[in-house]
């Protein structure tokens, strides 16, 4: 459970502050794998980054005793000039893993990069980068993994592997995911949180959430 208390978040702009959330109170469930759904600009990524503490709210706070991963998106923290191994070691050091060589080995095996693990990341394809980032994250034990469309570029085989390893972890760990692709969400998640107009609502059943989300979008379209 992640408790969001009185949270207000805005971004400065030429037309004054743009409020994303105002005095938001919400209990974010973490028992299931949760998908965050919402239109573009509704604040999905903002909420996501605040959960990860990559950004902080203007007022209010987010309380949890779970260990959260960093927001795993394409290329977070990967330096193109450094090799896959050097990048992996960096992530390992930052997260204080117990044994770096062991971690390195596990990431190399999981990411299926083979010898190219020792080449600079700039020579990788986008799919390979995504694999590397995902492998770095999955091989550290967190309570909650925050995943932002990172897996969408991987090939079907890798996606399957990713899903399996997440399933394996789901005994003790949860996933929070942001994605626009409903297929991908159906693959990984079992419930949904919908962001609309700065309000959050939770749907225990993913399909129900997706129905509301797509109908909402359709209704708004027909009103216009």
């Amino acid at each position: 459970m992640i408790k969001i208390e009185n949270l207000t978040k805005s971004y400065p702009s030429k037309m004054g502050p743009q409020y994303i959330f105002r005095n938001l109170n919400f209990n974010f469930p973490t028992e299931n794998n949760v998908a965050i759904l919402g239109k573009n600009g509704a604040g999905k990524s903002t909420l996501f980054r605040m959960l990860a503490k990559s950004e902080y709210p203007d007022r209010g706070r987010i309380l949890t005793n779970k260990a959260m991963s960093w927001p795993v998106a394409l290329q977070t923290g990967v330096h193109p000039q450094m090799t896959g191994r050097e990048n992996t070691r960096f992530v390992g050091r930052i997260n204080n893993v117990r044994s770096l060589p062991e971690y390195e080995e596990k990431v190399q095996a999981f990411a299926e990069l083979g010898k190219r693990f020792d080449l600079p990341v700039r020579t990788y394809s986008s799919g390979m980068r995504a694999k590397l980032v995902f492998a770095c994250c999955m091989n550290i034990d967190f309570d909650i993994y925050l995943i932002d469309e990172a897996t969408s570029v991987g090939d079907p085989l890798f996606r399957k592997k990713a899903r399996l390893s997440l399933k394996e972890k789901s005994e003790e760990a949860g996933v929070i995911m942001v994605s626009h692709e409903l297929d991908q969400i159906r693959e990984f998640c079992t419930s949904a949180v919908i962001i609309d107009d700065g309000k959050l609502s939770y749907y225990q059943d993913l399909e129900e959430g997706i129905d509301v989300y797509t109908q909402d979008a359709a209704n708004k379209k027909s009103l216009k």
Binding site: K53, S54, E55, F90, I94, N95
Partner: protein
């Protein structure tokens, strides 16, 4: 409960990781890390050498070559540290996705790296001086080391202030480069404060770098004297700027993250 010791330990881990990352990403061409030492070393050596060719002799009992070298060293330490530290906040932006990495860790890492490079450059210069037969006994080594550390703390805090300001107003970067350019000419790099009539001193002595340079020369050669400059001014300015920069950082760092 996370103790203070754990916190320090975590900070050390993050800064160490950033430090290695900086080394790996910055110096991965054929020259490698050597270039970082060589470039300022050659710059300082060449400039001092040609200046001493033009008019050999002593400046107020300091050999001109060493006189120039100290001035350039002070100037270089300030400007490169300022440049690297103030851009480090933006340079490491993608890494703030990891909540362990805060802007201050990036700033400290950049500062440490510059410090480390400058220490090696000082070592190289000492070797060069020895080989050229220009060796001399340093009158007050403790003062010299103290000045160096102070200059370093001062440069990092100025860099931090500029870095935070640039996160909110990007134009600050342009102003910064305009401000640092005349430093070469007003910081007593290739002339001594004592060469000027006393009534012009107030126009120069507001600049802490003048004090750093003149006192460093005094620390090497007692006979050079320390007219018009004071150690207490350096300490006061450094303490004020360290406090100011940390205070600015404390109230803005969360907003810097979402910029």
């Amino acid at each position: 409960m996370v103790t203070f010791k754990d916190q320090l330990y975590a900070w050390r881990g993050v800064i160490f990781a950033l430090f290695l990352r900086e080394l790996q990403s910055k110096f991965n061409d054929k020259f490698g890390l050597g270039w970082a030492f060589l470039e300022p070393f050659v710059f300082i050596l060449a400039l001092s050498f040609f200046r001493s060719l033009l008019s050999p002799g002593d400046v107020h009992s300091v050999p001109l070559f060493i006189f120039m070298m100290i001035g350039l060293m002070g100037l270089q330490s300030l400007t490169t540290c300022l440049q690297s530290v103030s851009t480090s906040i933006r340079r490491n932006k993608p890494l703030y996705a990891f909540r362990q990495v805060q802007p201050l860790s990036a700033v400290l890492t950049a500062g440490f790296l510059e410090f480390f490079i400058k220490v090696v450059v000082v070592g190289l210069i000492a070797v060069a001086l020895y080989l050229m037969g220009e060796d001399f006994a340093i009158h007050d080594p403790l003062l010299l080391i103290f000045l160096f550390l102070m200059l370093w703390a001062f440069s990092i805090s100025i860099g931090l202030i500029f870095g935070i300001a640039a996160a909110f107003v990007p134009e600050v970067d342009k102003i910064k480069s305009m401000l640092t350019r005349p430093l070469m000419f007003i910081s007593c790099v290739f002339f001594s404060l004592q060469d000027l009539p006393e009534k012009f001193w107030p126009y120069l002595t507001w600049n802490p770098l003048v004090h750093f340079n003149e006192l460093a020369r005094y620390a090497c050669f007692e006979s050079y004297g320390h007219k018009g400059v004071s150690l207490s001014f350096i300490i006061e300015v450094t303490v004020v700027f360290v406090f100011l920069s940390l205070a600015m950082y404390h109230i803005t760092w969360k907003r810097v993250l979402s910029r």
